[in-house]
């Protein structure tokens, strides 16, 4: 399955993450998953919310730079080694994973989300 994500540029400045969260709560958006990729100089916040359109509009209005994109989400069985096996299969087939994080929808099962430049092949391989 595909899961839509909003990525947000985060300057390395005090209070920016708070401002980001404030913009979302102010717009009544619920965050379902929040992942931060941090470097020494800047961060990228990756969000899945209950309304990504609304979230992106609120963030843009608050002066944030955003980018939208789809991630591949897979359900992984709750036993040791199953994630390694799944990701290994993709990598054996030459599908590049840019980044991976986990996401659990309220009341639902845990998903592993990953970014790849070849969504179609990844989905086919995982069927």
């Amino acid at each position: 399955m595909l899961v839509n994500q909003v990525a947000v540029f985060l300057e390395n400045r005090k209070g920016r993450l708070n401002a980001l969260l404030g913009a979302l709560s102010g717009a009544g958006v619920n965050i379902e998953s929040l992942n931060i990729a941090d470097t020494r100089d800047f961060g990228i916040v990756r969000l899945v919310t209950d309304d990504n359109d609304k979230a992106e509009a609120a963030l843009k209005a608050a002066g944030f730079t955003t980018a939208r994109g789809d991630l591949v989400g897979i359900e992984v069985a709750d036993k040791p080694g199953s994630l390694t096996a799944t990701l290994g299969k993709l990598s054996d087939e030459g599908v590049n994973l840019e980044y991976v994080y986990s996401y659990s929808r309220s009341g639902g099962k845990a998903l592993i989300l990953f970014k790849t430049d070849d969504v179609e092949r990844a989905e086919a391989l995982l069927k």
Partner: protein
């Protein structure tokens, strides 16, 4: 109209030298007699006004600096009684007191003539509508272009700076054909026009006359694109005269100096010796015709070069290289001379950032100078992947190192998060306490 003053602007070198020589002899005599600070300078080196017989003697004369003007604040450098002064202008420096200048009515008239010539150089005539967005007041920008435009007989719109949306409405509704302001404000106007969703083709703007701060060739291209105009450089400084000391012509090969009024020299900033044509150094001016506050060999601190060869536009007026920086804006980072214009020029070539918005922060950590350049990441260039954003940052650092010869840390910030003022933009924060 090709020239505003054809006789002067196309004069032969011999005739110009004769005119400059006669005026130099006269101005040295007038300044010696009227301004005690200058008399003291001459007396200190045993030089008498009659020792100056022509322009070839100019290098014998002592230099004048901003420190002389400050020491004689406010009116001590005037060479005529106050009754002869018709107007004063003043400019604030980065340190200390204002620099005050006094103009007689003839000085104001000469200045207007310079700006009328400048407007004609940019292709303007009586039928043009000249929108002046330079600040009016103690700053010379607004009134300088204003008097020049009036003298030429163009329709002059004294808009002054500020309230950008109203400016845009006036430019559009009046059908302004020429815009005069600082380059950074031209950029602001261009950006606001885009943001407001106007189509630049609905405007009649044709030329821009920009000056009062150094700007790069790339920023010029960007302004030309945004405003759909041809941009001309105008140069001036309040001590010598405001804008109109020199002006670029359609051949864009430097700025023609109004050398019948302002005699230019380029000297080595360290040895103060004159350098040959084409060599970069500090620009020095002698005001040949000024009455109120004539200045002899005034060190501008601006970095330029001169060319005396003929220009294709037909003017014989000497050309000066567009000012690439100031000796006192020059940052010395770990012993390397860095001009903000160099930094700007690198940034303007990078499409992933908003090149005109940047800030330079210089500090000293331990005994080492550090330079951070904050630039705004363009929204279209943002990606959810760290490596893509990091690659942009690294590439700017690489280009900066290659161009400046000294490393700078690049920090990406969100669009519109850096201050962009309406007049002269403060781009450098030097936190070093040396």
């Amino acid at each position: 109209m090709r020239y505003y003053n054809e006789k002067i602007e196309t004069m032969s070198r011999d005739e110009m030298t004769a005119l400059q020589s006669a005026r130099l002899v006269d101005v040295v005599k007038r300044t010696y007699e009227g301004a005690p600070y200058f008399r003291e300078k001459m007396d200190a080196i045993g030089l008498k006004p009659e020792d100056i017989k022509g322009i070839e003697d100019i290098a014998k004369l002592p230099f004048t600096t901003k420190a002389d003007l400050r020491a004689n604040y406010p009116f001590g450098c005037f060479a005529v009684p106050k009754s002869e002064i018709a107007r004063v202008h003043a400019s604030s420096g980065t340190t200390g007191k204002l620099t005050v200048v006094g103009l007689t009515n003839r000085d104001i008239d000469d200045w207007a003539e310079c700006d009328a010539r400048a407007l004609v150089m940019a292709g303007c005539d009586k039928d043009d509508i000249v929108h002046v967005s330079y600040g009016y007041g103690l700053f010379t920008g607004g009134l300088g272009l204003h008097y020049g435009s009036e003298k030429l007989g163009s329709v002059t719109v004294p808009a002054s700076a500020g309230n950008t949306m109203r400016q845009i409405t006036l430019i559009k509704d009046f059908g302004a054909t020429a815009l005069a302001c600082t380059p950074s404000y031209a950029m602001v106007i261009g950006e606001e026009i885009e943001k407001a969703g106007y189509d630049i083709k609905d405007f009649k703007l044709r030329v821009g006359i920009f000056g009062a701060e150094p700007w790069s060739e790339n920023m010029k291209k960007e302004i030309e694109r945004k405003l759909n105009i041809t941009a001309y450089d105008i140069y001036g400084l309040s001590e010598i005269s405001g804008p109109g000391v020199s002006m670029s012509c359609p051949y864009q090969c430097g700025l023609h100096v109004m050398e019948d009024f302002f005699y230019p020299e380029i000297v080595d900033p360290v040895t103060l010796q004159p350098v040959p044509d084409g060599t970069t150094g500090e620009l020095v001016f002698t005001t040949l015709n000024k009455q109120g506050m004539p200045l002899i060999r005034y060190r501008t601190r601006d970095i330029s070069a001169l060319w005396h060869d003929k220009c294709e536009c037909g003017r014989t007026l000497v050309r000066m290289k567009r000012v690439s920086g100031r000796t006192d804006d020059m940052l010395i980072i770990r012993g390397v001379n860095v001009f903000p214009s160099q930094i700007e020029s690198v940034l303007m070539n990078i499409k992933e950032i908003v090149g005109s918005h940047y800030q330079i922060i210089v500090d000293r950590v331990g005994n080492l100078d550090t330079m951070e350049i904050q630039v705004e990441l363009a929204p279209h260039a943002f990606s959810d992947e760290v490596k893509d954003v990091e690659a942009i940052r690294r590439r700017i650092e690489h280009d900066m190192m290659g161009n400046l010869g000294v490393g700078a840390k690049i920090t990406l910030v969100s669009p519109d998060s850096l201050p962009l003022s309406e007049g002269k933009t403060v781009r450098i924060i030097d936190k070093r306490k040396i």
